[in-house]
Symmetry: C2
Subunit: 306 residues, 2 copies
Amino acid sequence: MEINAANISAWLQQLQANICAALEKADGGAVFGEEKWTREEGGGGITKIIREGQVIEKGGVLYSAVEGVAPDFLFKENSHSAMDKGTEKPQFFATGVSIVIHPKNPMVPIIHMNVRYFETSDGARWLGGGIDLTPHYIFEEDAKFFHQSLKKVCDAHHAAYYEKFKNWADDYFYIPHRKETRGIGGIFFDRLKDGEEMGFEKNFLFWQAVGEAFAPIYCELIARNKNKMYTEQNKQWQLLRRGRYVEFNLVYDKGTKFGLETNGRVESILMSLPKTAGWEYDFKPEKNSAEEKTLALLKKGLQWAE
Amino acid sequence: MEINAANISAWLQQLQANICAALEKADGGAVFGEEKWTREEGGGGITKIIREGQVIEKGGVLYSAVEGVAPDFLFKENSHSAMDKGTEKPQFFATGVSIVIHPKNPMVPIIHMNVRYFETSDGARWLGGGIDLTPHYIFEEDAKFFHQSLKKVCDAHHAAYYEKFKNWADDYFYIPHRKETRGIGGIFFDRLKDGEEMGFEKNFLFWQAVGEAFAPIYCELIARNKNKMYTEQNKQWQLLRRGRYVEFNLVYDKGTKFGLETNGRVESILMSLPKTAGWEYDFKPEKNSAEEKTLALLKKGLQWAE
């Protein structure tokens, strides 16, 4: 396909549809509801929400394509644009798919995925995205499978991408005040463009591959864990882990902050939050418990892939 | 009493003890646990936490008194200090009591109170504080009682304070992305000092009166509401209102942000968060329901006191 705004939007809408179909099949119960919205300044989106499924308690698969006068933040790290030359502000176009899935069973991990494309009327364009996993309980074989799958996607496109984007995810999904990572990371990248690492066209193929990797990886993790038994204590721990997820998203996540500060669509931005979350004063897991073992693995720099 | 750091700290510790005793009596079940902590850079605090009471599900009454090299933020709005004169950074001393109480019964409101005192080694000193109420369901007679009580405290010290500090609370406890206030407000003030409105000594008496007003006001609100019946639906609504409380505290509250950014004691800072909270995509209360009526009253500028 020719790489242009219309084709990318169409591809992302198809990706959204494919992922929702795969998740509905994996859930085996609920189906996604759909809400279309438009944005006063230009563009809009399709928000697909699933709730109270057999596996998924609350989740969203969001597509959006918005445009308008480019906000300053777009150019802070981008020296290709008219902003630096003191001329008129360019128009921007941004499109992407964002996913957060909160499962009911604490043995099934929370997952987040995002692929996004930006372009401006003065010729700049770039890609961003990533997939990261937040298990309530870390199972080493699942963590290895997850990272190995992402490494395979990266390796097929650029030998340096897995390590680079894995470290980027470790740094991004970090909660400084807790000195913990949000989960076991994954890959995260931003501002991939022409002339960096490899040509835009090749980066675009990598970016598409990340989007397409989401459903098979997460459906496998669901299949592995959805029938595991759990106790009331496991549910309590899930609430606390979800509390940390809320802390990360509301205090640190750049997309969330930007959305709230720029009068974005609140219900779409905050679809990432779980149905329930909890906090307990100074909670310490029992010695040698599964909870303590999980906490010990919420660190930067662990190597899960071979 | 002479107004100095030692006397103020002692008074605040006594206030903490008195408030905990009053809350334990009002709860009729749980008692406060106590944890003393020290801060590497100087000072420390006493964190008192109550949980799983008859009335109070999770709450904290925190005393702290810390000191060290004054951080820049202290001087942004303060022109009395050495910072502006380019000389050496002064030392600071800060002490205060902070309270957040999350009740079990959704008919009992959440309450927050804070009184704080700052001074610097180059002679600046000021007072801050306030009390605000976050009912899950707004009962007009309670809202009137609450604001009337605060107005009485203010009026006894300065004719302009209630209106001024009530408006300040409306502005402070606002969630822009929701276009809602966190609750029904109350009073909020900061940087009360010498030469403003009235002398420091008179402001100090007002500040003490705010601290002392907390327990009788909240115990009355507990007594009025603790035996009210509630349904599962009321509990669900409580979760959503607590979700908004979490959004305010993590996204906007200056004390929380400052604490997290400056490596404060996390468990003390985040004691304000509820035991559980919830989010539901695009929740809309039923027409003419108690929930809809409460939402309609979460606005700035409502007059509850006469």
